[in-house]
Symmetry: C2
Subunit: 336 residues, 2 copies
């Protein structure tokens, strides 16, 4: 056993081999981990200007030249998560009884406060703001990758309580882990298998097909396309994919960020309208730092509205049932 089980740590399920983060520092009382909390007003919101002292000191911000760190004057602010799922790297402690493998939960967990305005949602922001948010994502990934122990940096957003957001003020999150997330691992091995057979990238080939047969292609611009993936797990699951083969999101260029911001905002607005401001998650799937075989990853964003409850078939067996045809969702997203 690790010396302190209350610190965040990784545990491996001896049956399925799945890694889980156990992060029990927030306390033992159910009120600490049941996700329902009352909405705090602006006065108490830790993400509002004037309340900067309620968060850990900022690690990055975009702010007016004359303004001081940890004071108002910022447009985007990055702070360590006050209740991190992982703790900053120190010496890693391993425990392995052959059956019960675990190690200390080293990593980084940051919060990106997307706007100083308490009541603005991401979709309400100007494209110029969205552009800056993507630039901050890029900056944080580049920065966190410098740590040698980091294997993966995941940028994601929870919008709305039922998608896991515990604070309503618009924010996204970054988690840097020493372990590859399961779905990234599955995509990597899928891409590697396809590459070994064909010497081509599966996502490049998939886009080619989608451009030929437009029934799942929602829209595109010079650098990106938006599509409802063939085997969407969730209704209106939507991918935003760079047209050119690019392994790393963090290699994105200035003009590409601009085109991404435009197509991303338009897609969010469309989903907001069709599904009546749904809760949603999005996640940037960028390449792992190191790949085993020659294939390279193709980065993309997965945007997943939350319109249905996940039931036993999904939660208990990992099998997804999607009640909406991706072709139908694409048609609705294409309508004016």
């Amino acid at each position: 056993m690790l010396t302190n089980n209350n610190k965040p740590h990784f545990r491996k399920d001896p049956v399925s081999g799945t890694w889980v983060i156990v992060s029990a520092e927030r306390g033992d009382r159910p009120s600490a981990w049941i996700n329902e909390r009352e909405e705090d007003g602006i006065n108490k919101c830790p993400f509002c200007p004037g309340n900067e002292k309620q968060t850990p000191p900022e690690v990055y911000s975009l702010r007016r030249n004359e303004s001081m760190p940890n004071s108002p004057g910022w447009s985007i602010r990055v702070v360590p998560n006050k209740f991190p799922a992982l703790k900053n790297f120190g010496p890693i402690e391993y425990s392995d009884t052959n059956l019960f493998e675990s190690f200390s939960g080293e990593g980084f967990h940051e919060v990106i406060i997307e706007t100083p305005y308490h009541d603005k949602r991401l979709v309400d922001l100007e494209i110029e703001n969205i552009r800056k948010i993507f630039q901050v994502y890029k900056e944080r990934i580049v920065n966190l990758k410098k740590s040698k122990q980091v294997q993966y940096v995941l940028v994601f957003k929870n919008q709305g309580k039922s998608a896991g957001a515990s604070i309503p003020h618009a924010h996204s999150q970054v988690i840097a882990t020493p372990i590859l997330p399961k779905q990234i691992e599955d995509e990597v091995s899928g891409m590697e298998n396809y590459f070994e057979e064909t010497k081509r990238c599966v996502l490049c080939d998939m886009m080619k097909e989608e451009f030929k047969n437009s029934s799942r292609l929602v829209t595109s611009n010079n650098d990106f396309c938006v599509l409802e993936p063939f085997a969407s797990r969730f209704p209106f699951e939507t991918w935003i994919v760079p047209l050119k083969h690019q392994p790393f999101f963090e290699d994105i260029k200035e003009d590409e960020i601009f085109n991404l911001s435009r197509i991303f905002t338009a897609t969010l607005k469309k989903i907001d309208k069709i599904l009546s401001k749904p809760a949603y998650n999005f996640v940037i799937h960028t390449s792992p730092l190191r790949l085993k075989r020659k294939a390279t990853f193709h980065w993309h964003i997965e945007l997943i509205p939350k319109v249905t409850h996940v039931a036993g078939f999904e939660r208990g067996a990992g099998f997804f049932i999607n009640p909406v045809l991706p072709e139908k969702a694409a048609a609705m997203l294409k309508e004016d």
Copy 2:
């Protein structure tokens, strides 16, 4: 493409290789797939006695001798799901463009109505009723396995709206599929790997350890133990495991069913008390019909309360964060 996309069908994600069921027959309107529906009163509940005509004709029931099928007098009633995720087997239609693989969604989807009483939850039933429900599960698995195309029969329950139950009247479900669910596949390969290394069953070994060090063992009787798994993905995730190595749930014997019903009911009551009647799912993980290598599966029940919302880290990357130590959950479940 398949000839009719509106029929349930399986699709394989070309990137990750994950199979998904697309089942869009319930209609195109958002109201048809958004999970929020008003609670129907007893008069309109399709699962209440007197309303038997509102479901497809029953395929099995336990009922008073003199009573007729599809009329009142039953204590447990099994009917095909009116909105099945899969359709009964016919000729299977394949479509494979190398990139977009799909086939028609053949299988069975049944509903087990657990009690004639509209307001009773599973946890409120007598042990004798629970015993009969497990017997019906066994009967349905044995029956559905007879179909040659069936690869797996999954029994599961959604309790509460937020765990995916769309009808409040107590019921569980059975889905028989021609494909192995992802989590079962992961457990099978984990068990096979462990067996190749050690010539032993990983779940048998795990229980031995848990009996030595009781911090995650909640309780046990002659045939079963209840434990919080070492790498629990969810707060209060609870497994009920037969002490003897048994691959198939459906091989369970009369006296074992009795002991399972006792320990299962006691566990449900405990969780209901500690977590204030939470929504939950449970799933029976039984052995696939055919295994590739010599190892055999060890069946068990996974009971997963729904106390937190699944967020982007889980939904978008498949990485679970559990805010409650399994050892703490076990201690709470052991308290009187």
